[in-house]
Symmetry: C2
Subunit: 196 residues, 2 copies
């Protein structure tokens, strides 16, 4: 399974944001929506065996499980509307337990540390100071951890340093988080591409 954890530092934790202003009033939610699309969609279908965790303001986490997902289109507005529904269901989530807002979309009152505890597989930090992706053996069940348009805070960086097994970068250019997700997928897709 491939998992992606994306931290949204300025992202909303309540559903009262306008779908018409995702970059502004919704705290760069456009970036997170594109990360979701990049993680889940391939042409004419959904990738199997992928999960995305969006950590919003270090207090709410939306987990999207590709296996059960319904009703999602790859455009930012549609993804944002489903995230809005998830935030609207937040009060049904008690403690760290999740509530399902629409099929495949789960909300919980968890911050970054609790999510790091919950993910499985090899935790890979995607960071501009990491080793080139091409020099790293692809892990079987990677969990990639990324930040939105902001850097990891010192506290996040410390938590991640404890949890992560690898720190990699996708290339010499520093990319947007969603583009990084796409490159990470392609890197895993093309491992052994010759045999296809």
């Amino acid at each position: 399974m491939r998992q992606f954890v994306v931290i949204g530092h300025d992202a909303p934790t309540t559903p009262d944001f306008p779908l018409d202003d995702l970059p502004g009033a919704a705290g760069r939610l456009d970036v997170l929506c594109r990360c979701v699309s990049a993680a889940l969609f391939r042409s004419h279908g959904i990738r199997d065996d992928v999960a995305v965790f969006l950590v919003l303001g270090d207090e709410v986490t939306v987990r999207i499980d590709a296996g059960d997902l319904r009703y999602m289109n790859p455009d930012e507005r549609n993804v944002a509307s489903l995230l809005q529904k998830a935030l609207d269901a937040k009060d049904q989530a008690i403690g760290h337990r999740e509530a399902e807002s629409t099929p495949g979309i789960h909300v919980s009152k968890r911050g970054f540390e609790a999510v790091l505890d919950a993910v499985s597989g090899t935790v890979v930090e995607l960071h501009e100071d990491g080793a080139p992706l091409a020099d790293v053996e692809p892990p079987a069940d990677p969990t990639f951890v990324l930040s939105d348009h902001r850097d990891f805070t010192d506290e996040e960086a410390a938590l991640l340093a404890d949890a992560s097994d690898q720190r990699v970068r996708v290339g010499p250019e520093v990319l947007h988080a969603d583009h990084t997700v796409t490159v990470a997928h392609n890197y895993l897709d093309t491992d052994g591409f010759e045999v296809y």
Copy 2:
């Protein structure tokens, strides 16, 4: 220079489309907007030396030149609003000559064939039946040609076969056009990545 030509088969050719329904009423303009973002943006800046040609309904082309670009954010709605301005300026473009709607964005009444004649460098068709990207020597000045959510029509495919020097695919998975743009950039970025 890196150039990207993206064909939008159902995309609008007039500015009277709603920004609230890019996938539906605006004919999957969301895909083209994400292609523009993927082609132009890196983290905290614009890529130098990139141009994007959006061929809309085989009759209008919007050319976006990264070198002169102003006022663009990477979210779909913002890109779409600038495309709307370009379509609004369409009648200022006479014959195949361009009119500039906002800095760096140019509109002309050109279809796919005229755009293929206008682009420079090595024309590379991105297609699921092409050779794996990793097996192809990166061209110095590539022009990547992609289709939106639809396949190339027979006529487009014939024109492209005449014009293109290479046909490549980005991996075993068939990706969305915008994700393909991201992978193509990464492929060129990381050529010689070891020396960074």
